[in-house]
Symmetry: C2
Subunit: 277 residues, 2 copies
């Protein structure tokens, strides 16, 4: 696997690739979720380019940019094992030079859920993803369903701005107890980690209620909230049952509605989601 | 010249072009200024694609979107005469489908001058140009210096978002009396048209003062304003002497400073500019 550290080199190498190019943008500290994206690209594309860039513009001033976990040596060996062809690791000073001031704003869908709690987050995500797409020029781009709203935002951006690539959304990879894989899981203290399994249990409960004919979002949310409240270390930011396109809350659950939630354990914020189907 | 009316067809044709592609985005009602961009592309590129799209999102609610001059038959024959290879004319309903909500915002440089008087204008310009760039994927894109701030905004956007093309800025084309070519000149009543030559005369005066050692922007602007005030039909929106990169007003004129102004004649708003060099 070749490591590429500058935009100019990435462009040069990209120009010389003949065939389809899959792109897996990440913030590093890779886990099985990221690697499932790489695997999917390796199956579908002639070339697989992963990127690692901890994007400062998507972190709020009070968030964990500085201490976001990093382990490039481990990431490198994991990507090499998955046979990614290229790892693009640009510098923040090259991505955001002095005077940088152009932003991509995906409108209303960025103001809900995560966007309501993390103002500016999706503007940072949409902007860096646009930049990376323009640099890497992939045939396909791979994102994990775990970050459901990110998938909706980027899919909308690709459509609205006529970005010429195919979006591939890959199912969430989970720990044996159901906790969604996340680089932030490493922050959890043992007791928090133990209680964090309630997130997926609550999602499974919502799904079971749906299968049994439950259609009232308020009833489903109430049952989920009750489960969360039994875990003393969990603080719920939101529970949502929403349209998978607009992420607007539904008055009545429908097939493909998305149940999502954000829960804090101490300073660690975890998100997860499931489709009702 | 082939006319292309859908995004899908434009993409399909673009994929089949081998060689460099020059792109001249316009709002139609073409004049010698536009044609000079086409000529430049025909000299430099293997293929030249012009577009005509009167972009609704860059007009304010009180502006002239509905009555913006249109003459597609004439535009077609002018472009054909210049031997453009393709004319892309997408529909507004395809460019801005129901639910469209993604915007490109080029920050501070869009808030000055034209941006201060036409809020949202450059957001509309940056967004449609991003879309057109993504659809056409040109090697080079051509813009006229007459729209100086538009050139600065798009150049900054291309740099900040790592858009992979070369920007070519082409000098302003003028009528024999110096008035910059503009599709909006057609709005001018005969008496207004006669007085509008003062715009270029004021710019020439500024340039002459600079050549003779004048460096104080306030003195230069005052001389320009005096000339404008002698024309009873002219109302000055602004006169600016600014940095060519940031468009911020200068306390002291420097080589390459840009002198620009916006003047209204009745409901017709005209802009023009000149570099001090």
């Amino acid at each position: 696997m070749k490591v590429i550290e500058t935009i100019a080199e990435m462009r040069k190498i990209r120009r010389e690739l003949n065939g389809t190019v899959g792109f897996v943008p990440t913030m590093g500290y890779l886990h099985e979720g990221h690697l499932s994206l790489v695997k999917r690209s390796r199956e579908a594309d002639d070339y697989t380019i992963a990127s690692i860039f901890v994007n400062p513009s998507q972190f709020g001033p009070e968030e964990d940019f500085e201490c976001y976990p990093r382990d490039y040596a481990r990431d490198f060996s994991l990507l090499e094992k998955e046979q990614a062809h290229f790892l693009f690791m640009p510098q923040a000073t090259e991505m955001y030079p002095e005077g940088f001031d152009t932003w991509v704003d995906v409108g209303k869908v960025t103001e809900l859920l995560e966007g309501a709690i993390r103002p500016g987050h999706f503007r940072g995500v949409a902007t860096v993803v646009t930049k990376l797409f323009n640099i890497v020029n992939p045939t396909r781009a791979y994102f994990g369903q775990k970050d459901a709203q990110q998938c909706v935002v980027i899919r909308k951006m690709v459509k609205d701005l006529n970005i010429n690539l195919e979006m591939i959304i890959v199912p969430t990879v989970r720990e044996p107890d159901g906790l969604a894989m996340s680089s932030r899981n490493v922050y959890l203290a043992p007791e928090e980690r133990q209680q964090a399994r309630v997130i997926y249990e609550a999602l499974r409960t919502a799904h079971a209620m749906w299968v049994e004919g439950g259609r009232d979002p308020e009833v489903i949310k109430k049952a989920m909230l009750k489960m969360m409240r039994e875990k003393p270390l969990a603080t719920v930011d939101y529970i949502s049952i929403a349209s998978p396109q607009t992420l607007e809350e539904l008055e009545w659950a429908e097939p493909h509605s998305i149940v999502s939630l954000a829960v804090r354990f101490g300073k660690t914020r975890l998100i997860d989601n499931l489709f009702l189907e």
